[in-house]
Symmetry: C2
Subunit: 212 residues, 2 copies
């Protein structure tokens, strides 16, 4: 489907943004959108948008704007929005619980279908529709449910051991909320979301800006 599998990560990260905005426009009954309007709504400059879109071939005609529905459907397909993805969540602490209750807004195609925790007080419960299993059941459940993506919200010291199990169970992608830097085979994608880093980076930029 894609013209090129090797699109830059920064571009890939903006695709859900474009998709979300196009859905809003489509729901509002809008048929055309100019690159300027798109740029203002998603807060990405129009040169970047044009470059992003260019990786996918000809998506619109210069000067005519983009067809909202066609573009929305294209991104839906690109983002696998037409295909339900089951996700596992490992570690039902404060952040894990918040993520179970988090609606992964604007996506109808992502569903956390199983959660796992070591705490017997929590296992066996159903939180926001998601059953919480014991760690001992993790490998089996992931195989049965054919889950290939896991969200990791365990204490850092347990992270690598659990990743090894997840990989053995067939997990292909991990969204890592722990500060641990994980190692896994090259075929497994690890995306790190380090909240302390995000805050420290923001503080760093703030102070380096003040220094100017």
């Amino acid at each position: 489907m894609l013209k090129d599998h090797h699109i830059p990560k920064a571009t890939a990260k903006r695709l859900p943004l474009y998709y979300r905005y196009l859905r809003i426009l489509n729901n509002a009954g809008k048929q055309k959108v100019s690159s300027t309007e798109l740029s203002e709504a998603v807060q990405v400059d129009s040169a970047t948008i044009r470059r992003d879109f260019s990786y996918f071939g000809e998506l619109g005609k210069r000067g005519y704007g983009y067809d909202v529905e066609a573009l929305m459907n294209f991104f839906a397909k690109t983002l696998n929005e037409d295909h339900m993805t089951n996700v596992a969540l490992v570690g039902v602490g404060n952040l894990g619980t918040a993520l179970l209750k988090y609606k992964f807004h604007q996506s109808n195609s992502i569903r956390v279908s199983a959660a796992f925790d070591a705490d017997e007080e929590i296992t066996g419960r159903i939180i926001d529709g998601v059953p919480v299993y014991a760690m001992a059941d993790m490998v089996e459940q992931i195989k049965i449910q054919e889950i290939d993506i896991a969200i990791l919200t365990v204490p850092a010291e347990f992270a690598q051991g659990i990743v090894d199990e997840l990989v053995a169970a067939g997990i292909k992608g991990i969204l890592n909320f722990t500060p641990a830097r994980l190692s896994a085979p090259k075929s497994v994608l690890i995306q790190n979301v380090d909240l302390t880093n995000e805050l420290q980076t923001l503080i760093y930029f703030l102070h380096s800006q003040e220094g100017k």
Copy 2:
């Protein structure tokens, strides 16, 4: 202090990572670290590490490795670790509560000192040592406490209105967990952490890899 204020964002995002690992090494009593060891520990290739470090001038001698303590102190200073940063959190829902309880691990210099919420059931409470104020007190508290960074975890439809108030109160940086794309004066830094995007991007890469 910095050789150049305009270091790339990707480099800035890796600084907390380097710093954290150097602290671990220093605590373990290690005095020297090679770029290969550093590379393996933080999972960043050594060419990237050398390029990142080059923005800050000469940090080590080729072939001799880096002095752990000196490098750690350098990054501590660069990251303002020697200076306590007070942060406000706006929106004490599931995610907001999890972030209040989140220790922003490995950073002794970030403290969430005030939280705000519209729900009278929550305001007046102290959650994990952080007082939760009413929204009506937000501007005043931010000014009194000289807070310049805010974490935003409110429902998307309220985000922009609150950002306008935060900017008026003197906030200079916002860590935005809402899916809303915020507008603010150029002097205000907005860092978006969109959890749905993170997951969609991971799914996207996974499927585009399978297609190869």
